[in-house]
Symmetry: C2
Subunit: 695 residues, 2 copies
């Protein structure tokens, strides 16, 4: 059996993805978020799009008043399509008929706005509007139609072909006719159409769509887009995909393009193209990624920025870049089978995607800062918010790409947990899940995964069904376990240490067999490469895959996160509440209706808190070394909480990277230049003659 | 005698400014820059404005084709006016007739575009254009007309009233009629009109202009501007000027508004308003200013950002914010007489304003980063550049406010050196200068200041003319001398230590008397308040008022600034070349035609350079403490150059804040959570039980 209920369905590659009909998440961390997504976020997004007029745009287009009445930015259509995609996957998860009806209702709104030739946009092409494709740099027409295609594919795979699929195919045909060989030689300023067309090719078997996607990928980097204020790198139009060595420019655009390029490379067996994307991913991960997995440090152009330019207090780390990084990582994992891609995917899911939504699924972070110095102001409940204010989550944004992007990701999530190949089944992400698939020859395999991950580190895989022949169960051992020890228990009482990468068990399994992975989730201090200048002299805490942070609501009254110093010579410990076992899962997500917010696992670290001094205590913050005296401190155990959970308890200040107690202004000589210490340009330093008194 | 050749001419206040006819800069650091400004930059700006069509806009407006042919952003007119202002001051400096002719030519271009009612804009109000004042948030109409008024005032003061002055008065009358009592209750999104109107009131004695300026100041902060993507704080329209506690929002807008508010406060004797601005200045200087004096860390909205959010690698520090800070500081100095304002003014002049222009005065920095990790790419010689790329100076920008702003500041500069009051003369900034003014009663005073400042610290003031009665010569002792010792020599052989602030000599001076100030300019290590997180674990070097930096062109081949570590226990020393005496000045600026670029005073510090590793040496830059091992280093003397001089020797990397040799990844416990170290939430840490092996 090969599932068709797949967000990404490559016809080639190292691993075969499992579909939403093969993997069900039944409880725990992600089940709670998926439940909230299904029961709150989807309707929330629809209601807001009605309120701000983005759904109404389709009606206005049909009624000939769009030039006057259009609402939202050029790309507002895409939010409707992303919501449709999310609904389709959620319907496959068990959301069923009620969601089908919502999909139909929304599709009925969209359908009449499609032009006879397949073109669909509410922002261009009608009387009083700019001409079609007159602003390829920022018009987002292909981007929007790409999301439309993706939604149509999702409907076909999740619920069977329907009206939305037909709309999508007509749009794709229009795109191919317009931009294909002999047509307009151009690309869209915002990539997205590429992966959508490949997916449609996979769905329909039509070569035309794949060829068009390949053409778009190869066409990029030749300067067909006008050089705007941010330069051509902003659109990745500065260098051909095959020549680039690192992800650059607008982070979401860069990652969407890379994902599309992988899709093309896989279908065409284009190893050079795949290698180019892997190289770019490696460089971005090594030098342009926050500890959370967040990408993009520039607010101005939403771009990656130079290597190691990763200031926590100016982190942009857009939620959508996190979603796009998951898209890219998943494709690279399927293509190569390498666990490093699943490692970053896990990090990004827990620390970017999960951080986006509030506990109630009705407000969102667009940017995900790693250091908040000033308490946020509650965003208006009834107005859309600017996207980059990151003090508190907002119910909606003027540019509201992130809520629907997270919604479709959470709806797809079960598909990212496991894969299969000719040898067996691979588990990449850990959650309570029931998996049923078949190995070559039609041999059915069923697994039940139970875990308290990420609070706890024990993952138990119970075999429910297995062929009588030998096969291999693979389990990812996360890279974050390096330096601690992970254990694999095949037979009770026998533990074998397993290194980061992949642990495998090959044997004839019998129903009832249990394999247990024990991951060392105890909290640990993490330091940064010294080239990440902005976090010099600080440390962070990671517990399993979760990055932690200090939040002011956990500090004594009147103290703030900037007053904290931590002592990295003392290991961090689990804090009050301790590891909690998540609410036991039930069989299907849709029956989980009694989920409550469980206690968060906190961490406590040794440190000290400086006495509050108020602000403005020095007239000028730069002084000769040794002045002024450090503020007095009191020792303290400092409670940290998972980064994803911050800002759920009212306005607060927060920091991920914590200064150490060793940190103090270095003592220096008085610098009066009286020559008592010698240094020359050849590097000879005569320290013996130094008799400085220090001020 | 009271000069009228004054950029700022308050009728009240603690100090009386001296005019361009009273103070002449005759040689040294600023004479060179002023010479370059007069002989290269002014013509460069005119040529570029012709090339990019900004001057042509006025002709297009008159010829009825502006709706089709207009070039540049909404505020392009203002560049023409700022150039006119710069030319007027430069003409007063001795540029004389040739500049007068250029002023006339440019004025003749502008004049016909003025509407009969005084309104002047090439961007609004004509057929096919948006209506007048239809976009107060971003239209910049009052901002542009403010610069026009300023230019008209400059012409009147520098060369006598002329056509430009009349145009300015008509524009100001239009503004008052339109926005005065009973008129449109609004303000401009970009302040500037406020200080211009006050200056015109000072010139003409007409109360109407002052009242209108006061009205604009009081009207701001009541939300008359639409809340855009960046919120109302962007325009300082979130809070009334009197209520705000810190400068915030767009840095240039905030500083221009503050300058205008000081002007209004001074003329109206409005001490509350003055105190409010002083309070905002204090808070911004204590918590929102780079060591260079640069203000504004956000690229996205060009704003200040939160307290202590000052990442060097994302410093925006717009040149125009530096100019605006000089404008504000000078007004506060005149109003209060407090040396702290002159201190920041000096820092900003040397480290922001002087950093903007290349040595040849034909390319400029718009943003002034404090850390450049990637070598810049040479900007196009024949195209305008994006404003925020800060790797190399560019000849012109799409938004080109900075070149003309620096040009008018350099042209005005002699007026910022000294003031007078009933007691005597005050010297605030040190440069070779000849000063001739008169004290009350018409007693003439002439001073000749000679110095090698800032390379050297000796300032000699020779009395040329003096009344027979006692008076007071005041000399600013810069705040940066704190902790070292400055000396005042009144009589050869007798040195008296003087503290930061103001040193005074009160006596009956005779021609030929010399007073000498000896400032300790030896280089010193500077540390930052720990709340400036982004520079934790680093130190900077300041030498006199100059901030220094490491630039890759001074490192051995193959090494980069990110490989540097410095040892702050060893005092920095003057480097190769040593302090240089600037080219001896001559009597007037215009006769200085043989200035050559003199050797820069370098500084050498002890440190080490890490062995180059190439990039991408780690797959992931965040690791448990203690891993990986630090890169091997070799001891070295590291040459630093003044920050203002960087990027004059081709593409380079650069950093102001230098990591110390003490910096290394802190060792930590292994964090395996086996409980060998205890810490609890009450702050009790039991270190004795810790037996970690340190892994």
């Amino acid at each position: 059996m090969t599932s068709s209920v797949l967000p990404v369905a490559p016809t080639r590659g190292r691993l075969r993805p499992l579909g939403l009909d093969e993997v069900r998440i039944t409880g725990g961390f992600w089940a709670r978020r998926r439940h909230t997504n299904a029961t709150a976020t989807l309707d929330h997004c629809r209601a807001w799009m009605d309120r701000v007029g983005w759904t109404g745009n389709f009606r206005a287009a049909v009624e000939g008043r769009i030039h006057r009445d259009r609402r939202g930015r050029e790309f507002a259509d895409s939010e409707v399509y992303k919501l449709l995609e999310a609904m389709a996957w959620e319907a496959a998860n068990g959301g069923g008929t009620p969601l089908d009806e919502k999909i139909t209702a929304l599709t009925d709104l969209v359908a009449p706005a499609q032009d006879p030739d397949g073109y669909l946009s509410t922002a261009f092409g009608r009387p009083g509007q700019p001409a079609r494709y007159s602003d390829l740099e920022e018009g987002h027409e292909l981007y929007c139609q790409g999301h439309l295609v993706q939604a149509g594919v999702a409907q076909a795979r999740a619920r069977g072909e329907g009206e939305l699929t037909k709309i999508a195919e007509r749009a794709a045909d229009h795109v191919c006719s317009t931009f294909g060989p002999g047509g307009v030689e151009a690309v869209c300023g915002h990539p997205q159409i590429e992966s959508a067309l490949v997916e449609l090719a996979r769905l329909t078997g039509r070569q035309r769509y794949l060829d068009q996607a390949a053409l778009f990928v190869d066409r990029r980097g030749h300067g067909t887009l006008a050089e705007g204020e941010f330069g051509r790198a902003y659109f990745q139009d500065d260098l051909p995909v095959r020549s680039a060595t690192v992800l650059r420019g607008h982070a979401v655009r860069a990652l969407y393009l890379a994902a599309g390029a992988v899709d093309v490379a896989v279908e065409n067996g284009d190893d050079d193209l795949l290698a180019a994307v892997v190289r770019q991913w490696e460089a971005a991960v090594a030098r342009r990624t926050y500890i959370t997995g967040g990408m993009g440090s520039h607010h101005r152009d939403e771009s990656f920025g130079d290597d190691f330019t990763l200031p926590p207090d100016r982190a942009y780390s857009e939620t959508c870049a996190g979603v796009a990084s998951v898209m890219l990582g998943w494709r690279l994992l399927l293509a190569t089978g390498e666990s490093r891609f699943a490692d970053l995917l896990e990090r990004t899911l827990f620390n970017v995607v999960a951080a986006c939504s509030a506990e109630d699924g009705r407000s969102f972070f667009y940017a995900n800062t790693l250091h908040r110095r000033q308490r946020g102001v509650a965003p208006p409940a009834d107005l859309d918010s600017p996207r980059a204010d990151s003090g508190l989550r907002a119910p909606w944004f003027a540019v509201s790409c992130c809520p629907t992007n997270v919604a479709r990701t959470l709806a797809q999530l079960p598909a990212y947990l496991a894969t299969a190949d000719d040898e067996g089944v691979q588990l990449h992400q850990y959650a309570d899940a029931d998996i049923a698939t078949s190995l070559p020859g039609g041999h059915g395999v069923a697994l039940r995964v139970r875990t308290d991950y990420p609070s706890g580190g024990t993952v138990t895989v119970r075999i429910g069904r297995s062929p009588a022949r030998s096969w291999t169960l693979s389990l990812r051992v996360p890279a974050w376990t390096a330096g601690a020890t992970a254990w694999l228990v095949e037979t009770e009482g026998v533990r074998r240490p397993v290194a980061p990468g992949t642990a495998t068990v090959t044997r004839v399994f019998r129903p009832g067999d249990e394999i247990r992975l024990e991951l060392p989730v105890a909290p640990r201090w993490i330091g940064a490469d010294p080239r990440v200048d902005a976090v010099r002299g600080t440390v962070a805490v990671q517990r399993g895959p979760l990055v932690y942070c200090a939040e002011s609501v956990d500090l004594p009254d009147g103290h703030d996160v900037d007053a904290l110093r931590v002592d990295p010579s003392v290991a961090p410990q689990d804090g009050p509440g301790g590891p909690v076992t998540d609410t036991p899962g039930t069989d299907t997500v849709t029956t989980i209706t009694t989920i409550t917010t469980t206690t968060t696992t906190t961490v406590v670290v040794a440190g000290e808190i400086a006495v509050p001094t108020g602000q403005g205590d020095a007239a000028w913050p730069y002084e000769p070394l040794g002045r002024p005296a450090p503020r007095p401190t009191t020792p303290a155990g400092i409670v940290l909480v998972p980064y994803y959970s911050w800002a759920n308890r009212g306005p607060s200040t927060m920091r991920v990277w914590l200064p150490t107690t060793a940190e103090a202004r270095p003592e220096g000589p008085d610098g009066d230049g009286d020559g008592d210490v010698d240094v020359d340009v050849d590097g000879n330093v005569d320290r013996d003659s130094g008799t400085d008194t220090g001020r």
